[in-house]
């Protein structure tokens, strides 16, 4: 029999046949590994989860034209640089001043389906405009013009012309049905929103847009990378980050990740203390056995190897159990906090097991040092 086989046989026997004694240490390691694995899974998944949450608070990138013309083709060209899995939505906007009851109001033409993706926080009372001839008015507009859902409103567009121009200015008025009133708590409440086609029909101007709001689910670094790439490769588009959104997202994320890391470190330290305490008790309990091993020829190195082997096997087993319990733990947290499933990260399996073994190894150092100091002549003394 090879020495290694006997070594494994000894440490396995020690753990299996003394399992009631080793249970406390095993539980400490398994719980520590569970929390480590769970928190690390959350740590790496938080940007994705929080990114999705943050997307509820509106777009985080704005496309504006660099020159005169900015069309849907330019928008598509800009969006082509963003991974489709990261792109939540992109809503084009064109603004024109119109008149309702002779009052100047800003009308925005957009794609309602895209706005639903980029601005999920909009509180829409009524039905989103879908068919031609339907509009949504902001709360501010509704209050000042006494408009409500179901009303018909005449919207007039008069083209502003330069003084002395020879061409006749466009002047058009169309009736629209108010299908919804929009509340956002922001400047959007002072706008009238309609589908792009309706605005083009009203103004007689087609093809161009003023800006696009883009919602991208990714971290700050990736966002910056997208921005730089679009600005350098799509000359007609000036892409900018919505600092108010991206900065707060980065701050919250970094604080949350720091908190998760801190808790992980504390848990690992507590695990280490618990394992060290248990192993100290184990060494004290096995002083006679250590003395005997030394008496029959074990060197200090052998004693260290055997106890470290036991500790590391315990750490490995605790780590394996912790990997799976940790994923279940992270999944439960994710479902309760983010209402979505977490992604299993295979890279965390070796990391958790290695960390468990390392923590157990460090925790065993002091007890093992005391084991090497056992004097066989003293502990084996007859009664």
């Amino acid at each position: 029999m090879k020495k290694r086989k006997m070594f494994l046989r000894m440490i396995t026997a020690s753990l299996m046949r003394r399992r009631s004694r080793m249970l406390v240490a095993f539980l400490a390691i398994a719980i520590g590994a569970t929390i480590l694995s769970g928190l690390m899974t959350i740590y790496f998944d938080v940007p994705r989860q929080m990114g999705a949450q943050f997307r509820n608070y509106g777009a985080n990138m704005i496309f504006t034209p660099t020159g005169e013309d900015f069309t849907n083709e330019d928008l598509e060209s800009g969006l082509s640089h963003i991974k489709s899995s990261d792109l939540v939505g992109a809503a084009p906007y064109r603004y024109e001043t119109v008149r309702i009851h002779e009052q100047p109001i800003m009308a925005a033409g957009t794609s309602m389906e895209d706005v639903k993706k980029t601005s999920p926080y909009w509180l829409v009372e009524g039905e989103w405009p879908a068919a031609a001839g339907e509009v949504m008015v902001g709360q501010g507009v509704a209050e000042s013009l006494q408009l409500k859902q179901g009303d018909t409103v005449a919207i007039r567009y008069t083209e502003e012309t330069e003084e002395g121009a020879e061409e006749e200015a466009a002047d058009n008025e169309i009736d629209y049905k108010v299908t919804a009133v929009l509340s956002t708590g922001g400047s959007e409440e002072d706008y009238v929103y309609m589908n792009m086609e309706d605005l083009e029909e009203l103004t007689g101007l087609a093809g161009s847009i003023d800006l696009a709001e883009v919602s991208i689910s990714s971290g700050a670094d990736q966002l910056n990378s997208y921005m730089e790439q679009i600005n350098s490769e799509v000359p007609s588009v000036d892409a900018r980050l919505v600092k108010r959104v991206t900065a707060s997202e980065t701050t919250v994320l970094s604080k949350l990740q720091a908190l998760v890391l801190l808790v992980t470190v504390i848990v690992l330290a507590l695990t280490m203390i618990c394992v060290a305490t248990t192993m100290t008790a184990v060494v004290a309990e096995r002083r006679k056995e250590i003395g005997l091993r030394k008496a029959i020829g074990a060197s200090d190195k052998s004693i260290v190897t055997e106890f470290m082997g036991e500790g590391m096997m315990l750490g490995g087993l605790g780590g394996i159990v912790g990997v799976f319990l940790g994923f279940a733990f992270a999944q439960t947290i994710s479902k309760h906090v983010f209402s979505s499933s977490i992604i299993f990260r295979p890279g965390l399996v070796p990391l958790t097991i290695a960390a468990s073994i390392l923590v157990t190894g460090i925790a065993c150092l002091s007890p093992i040092r005391s084991a090497t100091k056992v004097d066989p002549a003293l502990v084996l003394k007859g009664e």
């Binding site: 029999m1 000894m10 003394r18 056995e289 091993r293 020829g297 052998s302 002549a377 084996l380 007859g382």
Partner: protein, 230 residues
């Protein structure tokens, strides 16, 4: 040259002389008993011969090497290679079975050999109990496992400290018979005992008192067989 020679050995703890100018020679293949009351220095002498302690003064020549001058690491090697230890409390590893306990000595000495360990257990009549844990063995059986473990590496000396102290008469006889067999095979035996019946079985009995050799007697009627008194 004697296998073991103690020359003017002292072991001093403060004012106490646990061993006080002890001189002793043990020849290869000899069976020596060491007797004496508690505190006479038997255990101290055992620990020194067993390389688990060093004398304060004097020389301990084992196979010509002065083990009193060796480092702790070398003493571990000498103990592993030359000495087989048997204890009163058996001291078996409680989570290893009988076979594994014997193999443990092989593991530290050289290479574990299950077949050879099983043969050693067979020599002490315990081949059929090889897979039993110490808690499943009687005191006598545990001591026989201890004997098998002591002889597995073919040591120069078997050092037994009160080997029959925890055994009944039947098991005491079994263990002494084992010693007799080992002696017949040429093994050197040093047996520390309180029991005159066990001491008298040896070829020579050394009596310690107050750290000194008080008396040495040679058993002219040596048979290696125990004779119980009524």
């Amino acid at each position: 040259m004697s296998l073991l020679e103690l020359k003017h050995i002292y072991k001093i703890y403060g004012e106490l002389h646990a061993l006080d100018d002890v001189n002793l020679k043990v020849e290869k293949g000899e069976w020596v008993s060491i007797m004496g009351p508690s505190g006479s220095g038997k255990s101290t002498m055992m620990n020194i011969i067993g390389c688990m302690d060093k004398p304060s003064k004097g020389e301990v020549l084992l196979d010509g090497v002065d083990i009193a001058r060796e480092s702790g690491k070398n003493l571990t090697t000498i103990r592993r290679d030359k000495i087989g230890l048997i204890f009163q409390q058996f001291h078996l590893v409680n989570y290893l079975n009988a076979l594994e306990n014997v193999m443990l000595a092989q593991y530290y000495h050289s290479i574990p050999d299950e077949k050879e360990a099983l043969e050693a257990l067979d020599r002490v009549g315990l081949a059929d109990r090889a897979k039993h844990l110490p808690s499943q063995l009687s005191g006598g059986e545990q001591q026989r496992v201890c004997v098998a473990r002591a002889l597995i590496n073919h040591p120069e000396i078997i050092l037994a400290d009160e080997p029959t102290g925890n055994l009944d008469d039947a098991n005491e006889e079994t263990v002494v018979d084992l010693f007799h067999k080992l002696h017949d095979e040429g093994t050197t035996l040093i047996v520390v005992t309180h029991d005159p019946e066990v001491a008298e079985v040896a070829q020579r009995t050394v009596v310690l008192r107050n750290g000194k050799i008080h008396k040495e007697t040679v058993n002219t009627n040596f048979t290696g067989k125990i004779r119980f008194r009524d």
